[in-house]
Structure formats: C-alpha cells, structure tokens
Subunit: 316 residues, 2 copies
C-alpha cells in the first residue's frame, strides 16, 4: 500500500447502508424499491474553483456541498458519494482536515462515502453524488410554466462579494460583512430539506452556482418560457441593503450562492412559505414566469437593468 492509498484510509468509514463499501473493485448498494436514482458529478480545480490557500477543511465541505446542492435542486435525498482526489503530495495533515470537512457534512445529511480514488497530481477533486426520490418525482428544469412565481432561497451575493474582494475587484471595508461573505463562500449549506419539501409544491428548480440570472436562464431555456425578475426583491445580507445598487451584479449574477431558484404556481405561496419556515429557511418571491424567451431584470419602475455579464464564467 503506497502513501496515497494509506491516505485514502482517512475516508474509510462504516457505510451501514452499503452491501460493500470501500475496498473491493466496486462498492455495492441496494437502491430503495420504488425510487429513482439521481446522480451528479462536479470537478473542482485549484485556482479555478477555489483559491490555492483555502483551508482544507473548508474545501472538503465545499467539494461535497456543491454536489449536494445539485440533488437539493432535484428534490432528491442524498445517499452515497464517491470521491476522486489528486494531490501534489501525500500531506497527511492536509488530508485529515479535508476529510474532516467532507465527512462532517456527509454525516449531517446521512451521506455515505462508499468509493473513491486518491492519486498524485495537481490538486483536483471530483465528487459523484447519488440520491433517491420517489419514482417519477423530481424538480426538473424543464417544468416551469407561464404564470409561475419565481422564488429563491436564503440570501444572494455574499459568495461573489468574497471572491471579488479577494481578487481586488471590490474594496469593501466592513470586516463583519467580509467575514460573513467568506463563510458563505467556503461553507455553503446545501438546501436539501427545502428541496425535498418542494417536490409536491414547485414546478422547476435549479441551484444557483453560476449566478441567479444564468441558472434561472437554464430553467427558462429548458421550459421554453421567459422571466421578469425584480431587482429590489433579491434577498441579501442586511449590511448590503443600503448598497444594493453597488452590489447588484453580485446579487443577480455573482455565483457561488448554492441557493435554490424555483418556480411554482401562485396557489402554492402559503404552502411554500410554511414549508420553508418549518425548515428555518428564508424564501423570497423575486419575479414571475411569462411567455417568451430570456430573463429580464427590472428596477422598481419596471425598467430593464442591463448587467455587463449575466453570470459568473469561470473562464471569462
């Protein structure tokens, strides 16, 4: 067993739901009868998706969180994860911290790590997540209907604010706000409980990873509808309220939010607010689905606001 295989042992945990966990050619699980299997993969590369000096515990959390967020956007319950990890060197302290962050979030959501691969290479992570939902039930991007409300969970813009401050594009002098923003960037909380609760309530959903307008745009494209989004309704941190105009690009198109954007018939407003409140999750109604094509961001007078970019582009 080489050093990297030894390091893989940091991730070896009991997986009571698995028939066979880490240590054979493949892991074996028994899917729940009457359920569909939902799965997604995300790859994170140093310098593209995270700063080189990110704390390994935060990186472990985020690597899993961004995948769980995809399942939240489907309304699926996460079950199993596989982790591929390329590391420049076999740094045991780093791996211990990374594993602690990853596994703490996994435990919090009942996710079992049942497979993986650890190797030597430029720091790169790839997490595969598998979840389940009752057969035929899912929050698909293609399900939005004209007349739907558009909702978003939590608060927007903080992750993007943190990235842009770090890159020197912004100059924010509010230490408390910056700390909150950095925490939101590094420890996003996937909205799994909300997503599952929305299965019978919402039509379409997506998670906000590339920026609200971009991710809403995917829903619109897949559903062949358009949207009006009310800039004043975009939820954010109290410290940003007085400076909404300045930070509108972060709010509407910043990315790294890992909130849910979803659509639902107006008849479900009260039920959605109750479901969110029961899960301690803020939800805000931010616009409506209309016939047509594309998303328009509107000011309080109903005039369209044009942003330079409509989403965060990792390669832009």
């Amino acid at each position: 067993m080489n050093e990297f295989e030894l390091i893989g042992r940091y991730f070896k945990r009991p997986a009571p739901s698995a028939l066979l966990g880490v240590g054979d050619d493949a892991a074996i699980v028994r899917p729940t009868p009457g359920h569909d299997l939902h799965m997604s993969v995300d790859m994170l590369v140093e310098g593209r998706h995270f700063f080189a000096d990110v704390a390994p515990r935060a990186l472990g959390h985020k690597a899993l969180a961004v995948n769980l967020s995809d399942l939240a956007a489907m309304g699926a319950r996460p079950r199993w994860a596989l982790l591929s990890l390329a590391l420049p060197k076999a740094d045991e302290a780093w791996v211990a911290e990374f594993a602690a962050g990853f596994l703490a979030l996994a435990d919090a959501h009942g996710v079992e790590l049942i497979g993986g691969d650890t190797t030597c290479g430029p720091l790169t992570l790839s997490v595969t997540i598998l979840g389940e939902a009752p057969a035929g039930q899912a929050l698909r991007r293609a399900a939005a209907k004209a007349g739907d409300d558009i909702w978003v969970s939590g608060e927007l813009g903080l992750g993007a604010l943190s990235v842009r401050q770090r890159l020197g594009w912004l100059n924010v002098n509010d230490a408390e706000l910056l700390a909150a923003a950095r925490y939101k960037l590094e420890y996003p909380e996937p909205r799994l409980a909300l997503g599952a609760a929305l299965l019978p309530l919402a039509h379409a959903a997506a998670d906000v990873s590339d920026g609200l307008m971009a991710d809403l745009g995917h829903i619109l494209d897949e559903s062949a509808v358009a949207a009006e989004v009310w800039a004043d309704a975009l939820p954010s941190h109290p410290a940003l309220e007085a400076r909404r105009g300045e930070f509108l690009a972060c709010l509407a198109a910043g990315g790294d939010d890992y909130e849910l954007v979803f659509t639902a018939t107006p008849a479900k407003r009260a039920a959605i607010e109750a479901a969110a409140a029961a899960r301690g999750c803020r939800v805000s109604r931010i616009g409506r689905i209309v016939a047509g094509k594309g998303a328009r961001l509107l000011d309080s007078a109903g005039v369209e606001i044009k942003l330079d970019k409509d989403g965060y582009d990792h390669f832009g």
Copy 2:
C-alpha cells in the same frame, strides 16, 4: 455557455434508458428491480497513468475501460457512466477524438454517459461507472477458499512491457511484439462477458491493474488465505514464451493488464473453460489457494521466486 461547456456537448448522446440525461442538475435513472447497484470511480492523471502524448482516442477508450474492468471483476453489467474532465485548453479536435474513443467503447457495452463536468485545468480524468447485478450476487474479493483454483483471463505482461520499453527500462527489438504490447496498453478490453459468466462459477475475483501478484494479494488479504502461483503457467504472448524468465516481472507484477484473476472450486473447471471458450476468451489455471497468508510465486521445481517488487506502484 463557455467553450468548455460547448465541448461538453461532444459527450451529449441519447440515453434511452435514462429518465433524465445530461442537462439538468442531476441525471435520473430507474434501477432494475431485484438488482444491486455496483459503482466505482477511477482518476487518471497525465504523466502518472498515461503518457502526455497518448492519442486522445486511446485515452478516451482507456479511461472508460479501466472502470469497466472494475465492474467485470464484480460480475456486474455496466449501465451508466459519468465523466469529469479537466483540460488545459479548449482543444476541440482533441476532445472530438477523446469522445470518439470513450463513446465507441461505451456503445460496445451498452453503457450510457448520463452526466459529467468539463473544466479548465491540468489534464485529469475521473470516470464513475455504475452497473447492476442480480441482488446478492457479486464476485467479492473476500470469497476465496482454500482449495480453490486460481485462474487468470487473457494474457499478462504486455502492457507493462510497453510502459517499461517506453521508459527505457527494457530494450526489446521486436517491432511486432512492441506494437501488440502498445495496443494492449492503450486499448485494454474489459472482460465484462467473462465476469458476468463467472457469477455462478467463481468465488472471488479482482481485476489485474496493479500487477497479478498485487491484485491477487488483495483477494488473499480480504479472504484470509494464501496462494501458490506457478510462474510457468502465467499466460503471455507467443513472442514472449522463449523469454519468460527475462519478462517474469512484467508477467507477474507488471500491471496495466486489465485481465481478471479469480478463484473457483476445482469442480467448476470444465464449466469455466466452456464459459470462457463460448466468449472467445482464453483462461489459464495459474495456481491454487491454500491456508496461510501471502502469495508465493513458484518455479517448475516448486522453489519460490522472489521479485524485487510485488506490484506496479505508480508512486514507487
């Protein structure tokens, strides 16, 4: 949509068995009732797992083949794959060739690519493979029993010979042999049909990726048994027969074979040979499982042969 997302389109194919394929937050499939789900992930890094100048079509084949080989070793039928791909630049010609190699092998085995992620970064691949087998049936490493025969499929040593020639560790002057070796290295054929046929016949199985003695060692450790392996019985290419001694390290411990090593009771000899013959696959009986610990490689006089390394170590 950025260049990398556009390139992701090369992998977008109809996935008739999926309820939802590429293009939402997650893919959705419906597992076959009465079956267990088998899954594995492998990460390949340039310069560690493949040469930087490998043809992209060969790399696409191999990235999937090494994963399929894991399922073959479980006796599972492959169903779905997810691909994470980090590329230094958005080279469309390269991606077209890579996708062609990957998808040709996928098509040959009825595998549907239902998810993935393409991003910018040092060339790194991670493939997640999912397969199914009837509930409770699997070729586990932990199932070998004292008295079992040890078998291996196909021929050993050619992949390792190609790597070692390329690295300058060997000096082979047989162009035909070198061509065969390189082909075996770059286009390994996962032994899926054989693996599935072995489900009712074999006890334990593993795929030979790190070298016969190392991978057999995993079976022994998990099964708490020992093995005698007969050096003269290790199957190889006809051109190597006259030089077995010289190439014994490649045969017994070379790696990159992607053959199956498996154990079975002697009562199944005829059935195993018939099952392999029906699938056009050579199988060779190379030793036996005994009580104890560890694997011993024996010469024709029964004297133990000690190799410098008992397996190929990517970081050795």
